[in-house]
């Protein structure tokens, strides 16, 4: 990765704000890295490059946070394992929060609200098609 004008956290968010979801890959050990770092969490290298993941993943665990309607209502919080081998916290949208199941295949989507991007997921079938 060439010198850039910001750290990994700001670079990640800047791409997200433009609707692009990027993760890192280590040019020395070949492993993918998430969340974005300055140093590879697997081998300690600083040779991290940005790559575009397939966006496909599987729900590793899930919980429904119970909130009163005036506090935003119930919301899903899931941990998703991307096919690239990294995990992130996110939420599955488009179905009831308590209908999200461990093992559900999901596909990433960047939701941009007030100019700020956030990775969320939609359910998909095994081949990655959005249902």
């Amino acid at each position: 990765m060439s010198e850039q004008a910001s750290g990994a956290e700001a670079a990640f968010q800047a791409a997200l704000d433009q609707g692009r979801f990027l993760i890192q890959r280590c040019q020395d050990c070949g492993e993918h890295v998430f969340y974005p770092r300055e140093v590879c969490v697997h081998c300690g290298s600083i040779a991290l490059e940005w790559v575009e993941p397939t966006g496909l993943g599987t729900v590793y665990s899930t919980t429904t946070v119970r909130r009163k309607p005036d506090a935003g209502g119930d919301i899903d919080v899931s941990l998703v394992d991307l096919d690239e081998g990294v995990r992130l916290m996110s939420r599955v949208e488009g179905i009831a929060p308590d209908a999200v199941r461990i093992g559900q295949r999901v596909r990433a989507r960047v939701a941009v609200t007030n100019g700020r991007g956030l990775v969320v997921f939609d359910c998909c079938d095994d081949a990655g098609g959005v249902r």
Binding site: Y35, T63, I75, V77, L79
Partner: protein, 392 residues
């Protein structure tokens, strides 16, 4: 129970413990609760504050907490440990204090904590809000998890998925804690509690209901550690430290490799190695039960049963009074109380059990106790094994 552990085993002892204001303590600050607990622990050891030349302490809000504590108590310590790794801190403070005592750097270490969390004017809501800025987790906060609760809920959901653990198993943990609390006049929640009541309780972050969560109470706790030779001169019943180990693998739940396997597996291994003991040698167990899933995970990771089998282990009152293993004999964080960071209170209960002071909840003939502290969101783990003189 003769051990073949390492050279630290049994060479240091807890000579005094103290608690103050546990439950409700309106009108007291964190520092005042700490100071009264510290005074009680130092007095019980037959010492005065002037004899304290080592200090270990931590606060959930003040980053430089050891300094105001030293100032408030009027200490001039030669040894200071302000390590803050959440609720396990006061268990993890043991080994560095033992090293300092061993080297001659100091003679008496005071480990102390206080929290007016329940009664304080600045509530948990404000602390959680300020932490977003002071200690950001930018890859979790945008998804609005209810931390720490949702992190433990995610672990519980995964444990249920992999091993067939049920909400009833989780409820067994809450009911066992309540049954111990009913034997402890100092416990905060002592009303009868049934499995069905836990199952019917308000859901907070699935699969954990409000009855799967620890209490929010006030309280101060403290203990004093010295070399064993000195301990025997000070008190008739020192409680010896046989082993201690600490392990941290991650901070955020999203960074934990396997939500069903905690770093307690590593901290426990280290503590057992030092003690030259195993799970079969433990008479009484104090496991940091911030949530019901914690107890199941730690029973497995500390070797009391195989991975995935803790649900069956706790069935039919397995860890309740009269069960197969006495666990959280004071009622635990779930029913005794939980002043923000509970680890020191788990350790104090273990000491009192080994001294035989626990009245109706006393585990008869308890000689060897395991204390396990947890911090963050299953992030930091520290295990200690304590024993009476018979275990040396």
């Amino acid at each position: 129970m003769s051990g073949n552990g390492d050279s630290m085993r049994g060479r240091f002892a807890i000579v005094g413990v103290g608690t103050f204001g546990c439950g409700l303590a309106p009108g007291y600050t964190d520092m005042e609760l700490l100071a009264r607990a510290a005074h009680a622990a130092v007095s019980e050891a037959g010492l005065t504050m002037r004899d304290v030349d080592g200090i270990s302490t931590a606060s959930a809000s003040a980053t430089m907490w050891s300094m105001p504590v030293i100032e408030y108590l009027g200490l001039r310590p030669r040894y200071v440990d302000g390590t803050m790794i959440g609720g396990s801190s006061f268990v993890a403070h043991l080994l560095p204090a033992m090293r300092a005592l061993e080297s001659g750097q100091c003679e008496a270490v005071l480990v102390c904590y206080g929290s007016a969390q329940r009664s304080a004017q600045v509530g948990r809501r404000e602390i959680v809000a300020s932490r977003r800025y002071l200690d950001p987790q930018p890859y979790e906060y945008p998804y609005e998890p209810m931390l720490p609760l949702s992190a433990y809920a995610l672990a519980a959901a995964r444990h249920m998925h992999e091993f067939g653990t049920t909400r009833r198993h989780l409820a067994e943990v809450a009911v066992a804690a309540r049954r111990w609390a009913q034997l402890n006049p100092d416990a905060f929640m002592r009303d009868p509690l049934t499995i069905d009541e836990v199952l019917a309780a308000r859901m907070v972050s699935d699969p954990l209901s409000v009855r799967d969560c620890c209490l929010v109470t006030d309280g101060g706790g403290a203990y004093v550690l010295t070399r064993a030779e000195r301990a025997r001169d000070l008190v008739s019943d020192p409680v010896y430290v046989l082993g201690n180990g600490t392990a941290i693998w991650n901070r955020q739940i999203s960074e934990m490799d396997d939500l069903t396997l905690t770093a307690a597996s590593a901290s426990g291994r280290e503590a057992y190695r030092m003690a030259g003991l195993g799970a079969n040698d433990i008479d009484v167990c104090e496991l940091y039960d911030a949530f019901t899933i914690n107890t199941l995970l730690f029973l497995e990771d500390l070797g009391f049963c195989a991975k995935g089998e803790a649900g069956a282990f706790v069935e039919q009152g397995g860890i309740a009074p009269g069960g197969r293993l006495p666990v959280n004999t004071n009622g635990g964080g779930l029913s005794w109380g939980h002043p923000g960071m509970y680890g020191i209170f788990a350790l104090i209960e273990a000491v009192r059990q080994l001294r035989g002071e626990c009245g109706a909840r006393q585990v008869r003939g308890a000689r060897c106790a395991l204390v396990h502290g947890n911090g963050g969101t299953l992030s930091s783990q520290s295990t200690a094994i304590l024993g009476t003189a018979e275990t040396l």
